[in-house]
Subunit: 317 residues, 2 copies
């Protein structure tokens, strides 16, 4: 399989998934802009089907599986949002889905994944190896393994978020995007740079989930201990083999945000924009709110990547 992902791959992905993906609105807020000192445009993937952008990549993957293989179903591993996305995409074509999820994943994500008809297998995040469990199930059942980020079909699917974003707001100076494994930022960077070569791509990681920042500095993929950040979707320990070279090529800088900054951003989004964004989705708003962008940016697009958060967590804000 060719790991080179082209703009055309992303355009084709957008056509392939258009029936299942919801075009999400872009929101603005005078009060946020006054605090951040820029004109912020929020791409609300928290309103996406399954509550996060993940359906873009997962459905592009499922719809790209050869027909003769599709019937044996799919298996995925995920802290939550990718799991829901795989479950929805599998259900849309009537194939079985098995998801390997950490036992401490937000309850809402576990329940929602089961609610879409998938089988859920939990594991201990600290001791278990979700990739190995997923591979074993794939080998035993013939189900196709859908990795959470490090695959061209996933990356091309996630890139449709930027395709859509720039069709809604074409004249952005920069795109600010959360980084877990790097699937979203890789796809979005390819799409955005093709549409608008001058656009600047900035990534955001939690302070203790800085594997991509360290990898960029080292010039090679660097592994870190399991992050403990509240941004549960960004707890990757190492950039992907396919995503990292794309990040190296396109991402200008990585901004780190603390759990406290993420909480403050979530509060602002709830009380002023009236939207619920999960910690992993709010890191971009946190970066803007805390004035962590490079100087000189005026019109900044930020992806709010998801909204799946337990009420219990919101009560701790």
């Amino acid at each position: 399989m060719n790991a080179d992902i082209s703009f055309q791959d992303i355009q084709r992905a957008a056509e392939r998934i258009q029936a299942i993906v919801r075009p999400t609105p872009v929101m603005t807020s005078r009060s946020f802009d006054a605090v951040a000192g820029v004109s912020a445009f929020f791409k609300c993937e928290n309103f996406q089907r399954g509550g996060a952008f993940k359906i873009r990549g997962a459905s592009n993957f499922v719809y790209s599986i050869p027909k003769e293989q599709l019937g044996r179903g799919v298996v995925g591993y995920s802290s939550g949002n990718h799991a829901q996305a795989v479950a929805i995409a599998a259900a849309s074509v009537g194939i079985p889905a098995t998801l390997v999820m950490p036992e401490d994943a937000p309850k809402s994500k576990l329940e929602a994944t089961r609610g879409y008809g998938a089988r859920v297998i939990t594991y201990d995040r600290m001791s278990g190896n979700r990739e190995a469990i997923g591979r074993k199930i794939s080998e035993e059942t013939g189900a196709t393994l859908i990795p959470p980020f490090d695959h061209p079909w996933i990356i091309a699917g996630q890139g449709t978020a930027a395709l859509e974003f720039l069709s809604e707001v074409p004249d952005l100076d920069a795109l600010v995007i959360p980084i877990g494994g790097g699937g979203l930022i890789s796809g979005c960077a390819i799409a955005a740079k093709a549409l608008r070569p001058s656009i600047r791509i900035l990534g955001v990681e939690p302070e203790d989930g800085n594997d991509t920042l360290l990898s960029l500095r080292a010039g090679a993929r660097t592994e870190i201990p399991m992050p403990q950040s509240i941004a549960d979707g960004l707890r990757a320990t190492k950039p992907g083999a396919i995503t990292f070279p794309i990040v190296q090529k396109y991402v200008e800088d990585i901004i780190l945000v603390s759990d406290r900054e993420i909480r403050d951003a979530m509060k602002f989004l709830m009380t002023r924009l009236k939207i619920v964004v999960e910690p992993s989705g709010a890191v971009t708003a946190a970066a803007l709110q805390c004035h962590k962008l490079p100087a000189g940016l005026k019109r900044v697009g930020a992806i709010l990547s998801g909204g799946n958060v337990d009420l219990e967590f919101l009560q701790t804000l």
Copy 2:
């Protein structure tokens, strides 16, 4: 002043206020529909400027004040959302605004009103008479008194919400609308019935704020004790003199919802639709979620009238 409000008055209001009012999105949710058993369309006035529909009426009022009178400013009384709306509308034309607000109004509403540059005077909700305080200020300063609901300019302004809603989703079977003093439902009923005579208009009140239901049954405006419902924007004790005949003419039925049902609806809206709706705004969703609609409705439009709620309150859900 002519209390007959025509469809043309509402169309003219829409033109008058289009620069200050934000067209709000209509949201749908498969998971909500599955629970409610209807196709629900939510008009998200929680995303409106000032966080509620009130800017529609307030700005239509301010922009209708004769020029020679405008410079002396405006005064309003409100549990919160109308206050913010008057403050924003006044600021937009550079005139002073004074707002009389209950001292126990949500902190966010008091702060936001002051944040828009208005002077805020608080009073005790149980003992004070906000109308009298407002009238006194108006007499002393020459400021124009902007009542919260019972005025043709306010009603015409609020009606623009339905004008916009039906342009977005024309083929609704019913509109479900919160009732406080009746300004929103009156204006919306006039607009909706003109555009789509077959549409059914349903009101929603909190259980202990059932002044309009009792008034409809009695055939005359009936006063109730001050409601204690969590729906702080719907604590009117008596329908308006102008709004009540309009409600009598157009509103088919009134649905009552409990505080518990309102809380459940707010939770669903937060965790599944990812939006923050205040108790007064969530009463319509509660009515749908609890299957309180008349039988036979398929496509139901519900106005989520506002989103101004303290984080402290959300923590009690």
